[in-house]
Subunit: 500 residues, 2 copies
């Protein structure tokens, strides 16, 4: 048994080293690599990826994981959980015929380019052949991987949020539709009165960066164990609990965009810094799930970052950095600006209230595609009709509609719903946190350390050693309950818009 | 044969991918990695280095290289050269018993720290036990690797500059001593009259960086295929001919330091960008030797960068960036500042004329140590006596004397002499280039592209497919000849100091 564990640890070390260097190359590519590097780099990434795949599918590793799995009862619980998950992932690789796997990855290596081309041409038709192939693979892979409990789309959902199937998501989205759609429609028709002229001024890149550096301190990001940089699309990456990096994108004509993307990424980054460092050498040193990671970024971005109390404390700092633009602006006007809701075409620019409807739309489409109810060729029509139903807007431009997101071009089916789930987790966790912490006092103090500590003890330290459904129950003493999310949005928007 | 070549190419690809990712991690470590990353990073580097070593010493690879070596006559010349060099390197690895190799690297993993400690304590005695062990390994390794032609120190010299042994270096340094030491002594006693007060002002980091960006354009560094960044010690690294990166260090109280380190690194960087890109996938896609790489950086830094004509063109730009500091400064005063010679303790801060004596001193000591004439325990005394002989300065502080460089603590014996050789190559190449190019016109034009093109055709494109001795003859139609270097320095300093 000891030798078995040693073998596993040795191969795991190798797998993790490959993932580490691939991550480092990705980080470099997204943040500073010169244009000319990519051809040669692609070859090196190819070699390392192949070595990784060889290691993951080596007889030695498969035998080792299978042997440990047979004796899972004898393992200590955290390690048993890791072996259970590893076995699950390994089976996924082994159940798909190698040649199909390879063909699929070859397809993906050019599919993003195809999508960008179609988006630039504003013609969904250009992307149909590629997307049809991707969906075909996804349907077939789902068949290979199906179990007694998981079929079709459920198989793919399990990759991102274990325990959440179409059953759970259907209920969740049904409730959101029932409870929030009427509110959203009502808000859409109501005008929010405030002076928003300061939003149309130029805010310098450098000063925005200074404010984001200030935010790092407010949210107690440990700069000795991470760093902030710039990239085209903000993201967070974690090399170990002691090396967590995130990026921001600055727009001089949209000054709140960098602020909220920084706070969002800080939510991810604090999570990654606060995982138990003992898990660094294991496969469990990451967030509990995609949805849970998103819950932490949403809690930072929305519950904290879009609250009045937060800006009563920090708006003066913003005014200090931008005296010309913000001297005469009230906190209330700023609060209204950052929370205003209105129907809009683009998901990533959507406000808190309209956001779940963007997700719902995608969830319905993905489910229909994978289960065989929809075909790719009809997607633009389906998208535009659904969009009009939810948002009351006619989409006459596929690059602002069905072509707007990169997920499907990368084969990421089952990912979108976790975005909505994350917000719902966040509201439930926040409500519970309010019972245990004097959040108002903490936010007024200017440093959020006590919140980080609470999240660390309740969530972060566990890494992915606990499944999301168990974790939310462990934190809040009840099952996942989307009512908190609904009530949170109702309270906030009824108050903001002075409804009823 | 075809299969043999394919096998070699496959394993080479793997070796190069490992080297690539290790290089990427080094780059990150030197430029931006957060402090906290290093412990975990060390483990990942360990895993990848082990995989690299396994690959380099795998039976398959050894058999493959040996089989190709046996049929080297049948290979096309460039590939034959690569196989010849690969076989040489492989033999070096195989001739040293694995356990000694491992023990040596374990020693090196802490030896730099020991050196830093001794340097900080200003006590050479602290470093003696570690350095004794390193020298012992180096002596033993030299014995393992000796051939009929190469013994003792010559074995180590061959690692950095193939073809140059103590025979060549002895002649070279003897000549320098004969010809230049009297000049240096005379210059040391002569006062250079000029107003140097502008050198003691503060020059902002940001403006220095702007000037270094300007220099990138002057030297026609292709920013699409590389980038400039900051680090504690300036260096250049090449991931491929299309991805070449270098760093600069800015000191606000020493404004020419960043300028000349940028020009120096640009010499390395242009070399790396101009190698034939077909060599990227081979082991020949680097400079011809360490000395040759240094020749290009010295040619840029000294022959071009410290010339009057260069600054007649670019000093106005410097004045534009620093109007308060440089408004009333003449180009001649600036030229005198950047070329002034005087005895000084630290090699890396030395001027062009005194520089070779710093190297000579180290060459003598290394040769004596490896050949068994000197012992480590006597090194401080030997250093201080030699130093006084060359520079007329008593060293009373080992951290500014025998402990100043990191090379020996990293086991780099045989590297130092290439620094002097590089300057001598540079002078010989420059003299020949002057016959073919109107350098004055090119430097006055503000862009050095024609010089780069000439260097590309004569030197850069070959990568390391040609040995240094052959290459210098190919370029200049004669053997390596240090007289050019001696004459260059004589002409320059006799003129500058108004001697004779």
């Amino acid at each position: 048994m000891d030798n078995l564990i040693k073998s596993f640890e040795r191969i795991r070390r190798q797998i993790k080293a490959y993932l580490y260097v691939l991550g480092m190359i990705n980080w470099d590519s997204a943040t500073e690599a010169p244009k000319g590097c990519f051809e040669y780099r692609g070859k090196q990434v190819g070699v390392i990826s192949e070595l990784l795949h060889q290691t993951l599918t080596s007889k030695e590793y498969i035998d080792c994981v299978n042997s440990l799995y047979k004796r899972i009862e004898d393992l200590e619980p955290i390690f048993a959980h890791e072996i259970f998950e590893t076995k699950k992932k390994l089976d996924k690789i082994l159940k798909i015929p190698a040649y199909e796997y390879v063909d699929y990855y070859i397809l993906l290596s050019s599919s993003q380019e195809e999508w960008i081309k179609a988006k630039n041409n504003n013609d969904f038709g250009d992307f149909i052949p590629t997307l049809e192939k991707i969906v075909e693979y996804k349907r077939r892979f789902a068949k290979y991987l199906e179990t007694d409990n998981l079929k079709d789309y459920d198989v793919l959902l399990d990759d991102y949020e274990p325990g959440f199937t179409t059953k759970e998501y259907d209920e969740f989205f049904y409730l959101l539709k029932q409870e929030l759609l009427p509110l959203f429609k009502q808000v859409s028709k109501t005008k929010l009165e405030f002076d928003s002229s300061f939003n149309n001024l130029v805010y310098s890149h450098q000063k925005q960066k200074e404010f984001c550096e200030y935010l790092q301190d407010v949210f107690c990001f440990d700069k000795n164990r991470g760093l902030m940089k710039e990239s085209e699309h903000p993201f967070t990456t974690s090399f170990s609990t002691n090396d967590v990096r995130f990026t921001v994108k600055y727009h001089e004509d949209d000054f709140t965009s960098s602020i909220f993307s920084a706070i969002h990424e800080l939510g991810h980054a604090i999570y990654a810094q606060q995982i138990n460092p003992k898990l660094d050498d294991t496969f469990s040193g990451e967030g509990a799930s995609i949805g849970f990671h998103e819950s932490q970024s949403r809690l930072f971005e929305n519950m904290i970052g879009r609250s009045k109390i937060f800006w009563e404390t920090h708006f003066p700092k913003l005014q200090e950095l931008f005296p010309d633009q913000l001297r005469d602006v009230t906190v209330l006007d700023y609060y209204k600006l950052i929370n205003k809701s209105k129907p809009s075409l683009i998901r990533i620019e959507a406000d808190e209230l309209s956001y779940p409807f963007h997700i719902m739309l995608r969830y319905d489409i993905e489910k229909g595609l994978i289960n065989g109810d929809y075909e790719v060729k009809d997607l633009e029509k389906i998208w535009n009709e659904s969009f009009e139903k939810y948002f009351g807007i006619k989409v006459d431009n596929p690059s602002l509609g069905v072509l707007q997101d990169m997920h499907w071009s990368s084969g990421m089916f089952g990912y979108f719903p976790t975005y909505a789930l994350g917000s719902a987790y966040a509201a439930q966790i926040y409500k519970y946190m309010e019972k245990e912490l004097d959040i108002k006092r903490i936010l007024s103090s200017g440093k959020n350390l006590e919140i980080n500590n609470w999240l660390k003890e309740k969530i972060h330290k566990y890494g992915s050693t606990i499944y999301p459904k168990e974790l939310i129950t462990l934190i809040t003493n009840e099952d996942f309950n989307p009512r908190y999310y609904i009530n949170y949005l109702k309270d906030k928007y009824i108050d903001l818009y002075g409804l009823k």
